[in-house]
Amino acid sequence: MINFLGADPLLSGDIDLTVVLIVVVKTLIIFVLLLVGVMLYIWGMRKVIADMQNRIGPQKAGPFGILQSLADGIKLFFKEQSEPAGSDHRVYLLAPYLSIIPAFLAFAIVPIGGTVSIAGHMTELQLADPEIGVLFLLAMSGIGLYGIMLAGWSSGSKYPLLGSVRASAQMLSYEAALGLAIVGVLVHSGTLSTRAIVNQQAWTGIGSIFTDWFWLPAIGAFVIFLISALAETNHPPFDLAEAEQELTGGFNTEYTGIRFALFYLAEFMNVITMCAIAVTLFLGGPNGPGLGFVASTSWLNTWLMPIFWFFLKLMILLYATVWVRASLPRMRYDRLMDFSWKVMIESAFLWAMATGVIVVGRNEGWNLWIVTPAVAIGAFAIYYLLMACVPSNKELEEIR
């Protein structure tokens, strides 16, 4: 029971009404946070892209156009719903929810603050802290894939089908790389629980950015994680699923109104979640310097600063995703798959193996000056051996 519910001290004692209420309130806060977050993210994205294209961007709805996505959402709510005659009705209705619900759930494991005391109960500022931790993220993004796949399949229309086939192949491919990149962190942390991973990256001074936070020890995994997270969320330059010039929108072509909005919402929610997970795994989550001029037990240091650091890091990563969106053209589909299967998965796999050897070597007291170069040489050797087995593009052309 305890293990299933996770390591949150809130759930270790008796579960009374207060505990239930705290969990309910946390659930509501995460729910609203994600909805408002997506709204602000879409607005911010449009503003930042406008910046990068010398434009002004949305500015009419609310101050600086901040309510633009809300207005769009309201419009979509009141739009007429249409459905193709050849659709599989039940699956067609189910698909948007299969997309949106995992997107909500995945955020539950993200620690957005420190451990605080609410109404006499100590609790972690995250909805759930299960022992399976980041595996839950992979599971949820796997289910989200069904939403896209079934949406295309049940539409009874060709373009959505093509789009969903593409999208599911792409997401499957990059999920492998994503999982292996996470392994690169798990080898260091030795635990799957997001809270435990965050606790291992505690702030002990400016140096802990480079020694304790996992982004530098697992730099290869970090890069692979960021790239495959973009691909996993169908974010440009990997947005082949909707490639509007080719597929008139891809899997969501036949969806209108609020059902379409749910897909849209899920997509951006996944971007936010992936960035939040990247912050958790690699950038120390809510850890950061506290305020020196107040006591460390003050609410400023227990409540505010961890949440501030978490959202600051999240915003930096989200800004980076928008920057990528504004900069890079969409990849060609065969190159996208090549990139996943020939580069990302091998690199992630070898990185995880190499990290494993080094971590074991450190624990066993091997001479790291010998082990590290040997591992690096070995990894490169295996990579190039693998590449030698794969036919080059030129050879593939001849085969075709």
Partner: protein
């Protein structure tokens, strides 16, 4: 950097001034000879310039102008001469803003403002009559509720320019062959059209290149 040089390009734009403006609230400056909707001018004493000669209607390639002249009432003359334009209508669904009417007008009565932001919901509203076209008592074009007027820039009329570069000679400059207008007086002559001569002209070319 090769594949990643795009990132530098995009981030560099953030620090540059925006190309687009806050359009319906502010307008970009228009070229000096911009052709917008017409006005019927008046002399500085308030008399109408139009004499009802119908030359504008004759020259109009789109045949959008309808004019009828009448004798001035002796005790309350509308224009200084013998006749005045009693009916003056322009159909803006036909007008192509070629400015030929302005060239044809012998009394500089009709000129074009720079205003082009106006719309109608039916064909009848598209026909501007003398009531809408005539400048008001301050010599400014009447602000109709369906037109988007901002500031005074759009009041600058097009016709007086040609008066200072008559017969199409671009080098001809600096002589105002143009009678005074109500509220404005005699307008200043057009700047030189020789682009190498004035900085103002150089700014103009930049503006066009941007647009």
């Amino acid at each position: 950097m090769g594949k990643f040089s795009g990132f530098r390009v995009t981030i560099a734009q953030v620090f540059k001034p925006k190309v687009t403006g806050n359009y319906p609230k502010t307008k970009r400056p228009k070229p000096e000879r911009f052709h917008g909707r017409h006005v019927l001018n008046r002399y500085e004493d308030g008399m109408e310039k139009c004499i009802g000669c119908e030359l504008c209607a004759a020259v109009c390639p789109a045949q959008c102008i309808y004019v009828r002249g009448a004798d001035n009432p002796p005790n309350a003359p509308v224009s200084p001469g013998e006749r005045y334009g009693i009916v003056f209508e322009i159909d803006y669904l036909r007008c192509i803003h070629c400015d030929l009417c302005v060239e044809a007008c012998p009394t500089e009565a009709i000129t074009e403002t720079k205003l082009f932001e106006f719309s109608f919901t039916n064909r009848q509203d598209a026909i501007y009559t003398k009531r809408e076209l005539l400048v008001d008592d301050n010599g400014r074009a009447q602000r109709q509720p369906w037109e988007l007027w901002l500031g005074d820039e759009d009041d600058q009329t097009s016709g007086w320019m040609r008066a200072t570069a008559s017969a199409g000679q671009a080098a001809f400059e600096g002589q105002v062959g143009w009678s005074g207008e109500l509220g404005v007086g005699v307008r200043t002559p057009e700047p030189s059209q020789d682009k190498t001569r004035t900085a103002e002209a150089a700014d103009d070319t930049e503006e066009v290149a941007l647009g």
